[in-house]
């Protein structure tokens, strides 16, 4: 019954049969990517991370509203070294987007990326599903690339969740309209929206380095929790080291050093230097740790 019907007699010999059998579909990698995305975004953990990220702009917006509710106007000025956006929120809700991104970029966003990237390989190894993916056979390089692409997709989605949540809260609580750039010029609301989208993309791209680092850590261990903790620990360490003046010479090489350069997109004209340095650093981290992850993963004995 069943199977025999699909089996076509052919391929005269065992070895020769293989070469001709079952050609991989060219779109197969896309299918694996889709499956990976579905699997990642159906986890409660992923949804919880996104929910936390969506909550940050809501809290900031409400806090600013309460703070300025007594009519004193203008908040407490720049906070935590972030760009001076927060004082403008009451004038224009769109500034909540910039404030929320500035507030989540140093910790919440990279922490979420660290969890997803750290779990990428190690989590599969931990649950044993990695061996079944590899004997399917997904192919180690392809699986790693798929995992990295999925992590990058999560970076983008996470950033957009923050931005959209901030825009919604900003529109509900504050007036919208033309806005003033850091340089003091006025731009229309439509152009402001465009800049906000551009900033969200730059923020997402700022996370490329952490994602590569997390993926590399993920190939080193069979424990998803250990990989997540290590990645988040590295993130905090680098953030602290970036504050120590004696390490001035090293700081330009930290993946987080130019993160807040996205504020330069709100200048007129845009000040590109630090933005480009930031993207360069992210590319460098992706190349170095991506290669390290590849070298490690393709040579690794899968014993879990």
């Amino acid at each position: 019954m069943s199977r025999a019907e699909v089996i076509q007699q052919g391929g005269g010999q065992i070895g020769g049969g293989i070469a001709r059998a079952r050609k991989p579909s060219p779109l197969w990698t896309f299918g694996l990517f889709r499956s990976e995305l579905l699997t990642t975004f159906r986890r409660w953990r992923t949804l919880a991370l996104l929910a936390v990220l969506a909550a940050v702009p809501i809290l900031v917006g409400i806090a600013v509203k309460i703070e300025t509710g007594d009519g004193s106007g203008g908040g407490g000025g720049p906070q935590g070294g972030g760009p001076a956006f927060i004082s403008q929120i009451t004038n224009n809700g769109l500034f909540l987007v910039f404030t929320a991104l500035a507030a989540t970029l140093p910790f919440f966003l990279p922490m979420a990326i660290g969890v997803i990237a750290g779990d990428a390989i190690a989590g599969e190894a931990n649950s044993g599903t990695l061996r079944y993916l590899l004997v399917a056979p997904a192919g180690r390089t392809r699986l790693l690339l798929t995992k990295y692409a999925t992590t990058m997709t999560f970076c983008l989605v996470a950033t957009l969740v923050v931005a959209v949540s901030a825009l919604t809260v900003g529109a509900l609580l504050f007036p919208l309209g033309d806005l003033t750039t850091i340089s003091g010029t006025r731009i229309s609301f439509a152009e402001g929206l465009g800049r906000a989208l551009l900033i969200a993309l730059v923020v997402a791209a700022s996370l490329i380095g952490v994602a590569a680092l997390g993926l590399f850590v993920s190939t080193l261990t069979n424990s998803g929790i250990a990989a997540m903790a290590t990645t988040v620990g590295l993130l905090i360490t680098v953030q602290i080291l970036d504050q120590i003046p004696q390490l001035h010479a090293l700081q330009p090489y930290f993946f987080s050093h130019y993160w807040l350069s996205f504020a330069d997109l709100m200048r007129e004209p845009v000040y590109w230097d630090d933005l480009i340095k930031n993207l360069g650093i992210q590319g460098l981290y992706a190349a170095v740790f991506g290669s390290a992850a590849w070298a490690r993963f393709t040579a690794k004995d899968i014993t879990a």
Binding site: M1, S2, R3, A4, E5, V6, I7, Q8, Q9, G10, G11, G12, Q13, I14, G15, G16, G17, I18, A19, R20, A21, R22, K23, P24, S25, L27, W28, G31, L32, R34, S35, L38, T39, R42, R43, W44, S127, G128, T129, R131, Y132, L133, L134, V135, A136, P137, A138, G139, L143, A299, D301, I302, T303
Partner: protein, 357 residues
């Protein structure tokens, strides 16, 4: 159970078992196996293609521990091959090397005539595997687990994915529970789902590590009959188990490992026959019987109450019986107790089955 017609999209080819004795394949059969090459003649089909062939396969882990030591394994096409050994004897390490998950320290492994792990991309789509128990995504349903594993197979046709997944679920008896989250599955259901993942495509080789683990007796019977059914379709089944009677029931061939070394391999019937059964004579005249048996050339004669047991002599046992009766021994029972695979195993390893290596 109906496999939907795939309208030629599923270009599955398969070496006809009748022509698998192709010279190129036969040459890959490991030449020097510890036990008899006539092993290949014992099974149905009569071809002597080799589906798994290892040569001096060795794995030394980083700690210096030698897990597998110079393995010469030869699995004939179309066989149901039992892979036996105590815990820690290197079975799983061997299976992982065959599946390309672990790089051998030295030696070679060929699966379906191609070197592993180099040809993994070409070989593994033809291999269904259950390695060290099932592994599932607990937050996905049984069906979604299979959809994911199938998406990881580059040769799987996405257009037939859903029907193939449904067929595989049906085949292992999980159709009714396919929408349930996998974390709610019992161990036996997880085991079945793992088996279903191995059956998503028509396979030429199934590697099943302890497939009946966690199943109730009814489930064990179902899996055994499934294995027989697959084997009769021409699929070679490589089965590791710690249940000797299970191996005896379903396997045509077997190999025994202990402490990383292959002790023996061959047809199950021959393995058991290799350990000769004992001649048992039940009689009140034990002393006389023992004397006569020794005269007749029987070795290792042991007297226990009203029974005399011995290694059977080379000559016809009917003559031995005549000699006993002629000598006035009153024989109540006379026969040879067939050796079980367990006897063979103990004789080979010199230890019980559950001793860790």
């Amino acid at each position: 159970m109906e496999e939907p017609p795939t309208g030629g999209t599923d270009e599955v080819t398969r070496a006809d078992r009748g022509v698998a004795d192709d010279a190129g394949v036969a040459a890959q059969a490991a030449p020097a196996t510890p036990v008899t090459p006539t092993a290949h003649s014992g099974h149905v089909g009569g071809d002597d293609g080799t589906v798994i062939a290892t040569h001096a396969l060795t794995k030394r882990y980083r700690g210096g521990q030698l897990a597998v030591d110079g393995l010469e394994l030869s699995v004939p096409a179309g066989s149901v091959f039992g892979f036996l050994g105590p815990n820690g004897s290197g079975k799983t390490t061997t299976i992982r090397m065959l599946m390309g998950l672990i790089e051998p320290t030295s030696g070679t492994a060929r699966v379906l005539g191609r070197p592993m792990p180099k040809a993994a991309r070409a070989v593994l789509p033809h291999v269904g595997a259950l390695i060290e128990g099932p592994a599932l995504y607990g937050f996905l349903s049984g069906r979604d687990n299979l959809l994911r594993y199938d998406a990881a197979d580059p040769t799987a046709d996405p257009r037939t994915r859903r029907t193939r997944v449904a067929a595989a679920l049906d085949r292992v008896g999980l159709a009714a529970a396919s929408g349930k989250k996998a974390k709610a599955y019992s161990l036996g259901m997880k085991q079945r789902l793992g088996l279903a993942a191995a059956l998503l495509q028509p396979r030429r080789l199934l590697v099943l590590d302890e497939p009946t683990n966690g199943l109730d007796p009814q489930g064990m019977r179902e899996i055994r009959s499934l294995i027989r059914e697959l084997a009769s379709d021409g699929t070679t089944v490589f089965l590791s188990s710690h249940l000797l009677d299970e191996i005896e029931q379903v396997c045509t061939h077997a190999a025994v490992m202990a402490q990383g070394r292959l002790i023996t391999q061959g047809a199950v019937a021959e393995l058991a026959a290799g350990t000769r059964g004992r001649l048992i004579v039940t009689t009140p005249d034990t002393v006389d019987a023992a004397r006569v048996l020794k005269e007749q050339g029987a070795g290792d004669v042991v007297i226990t109450e009203d029974r005399v047991t011995a290694e059977p002599p080379e000559r016809d046992l009917a003559d031995v019986n005549v000699a006993l009766v002629t000598a006035g021994v009153r024989v109540r029972g006379f026969g040879v107790e067939r050796a079980s695979l367990e006897d063979a195993f103990v004789a080979l390893t010199g230890e019980g089955f559950d001793v860790a290596g």
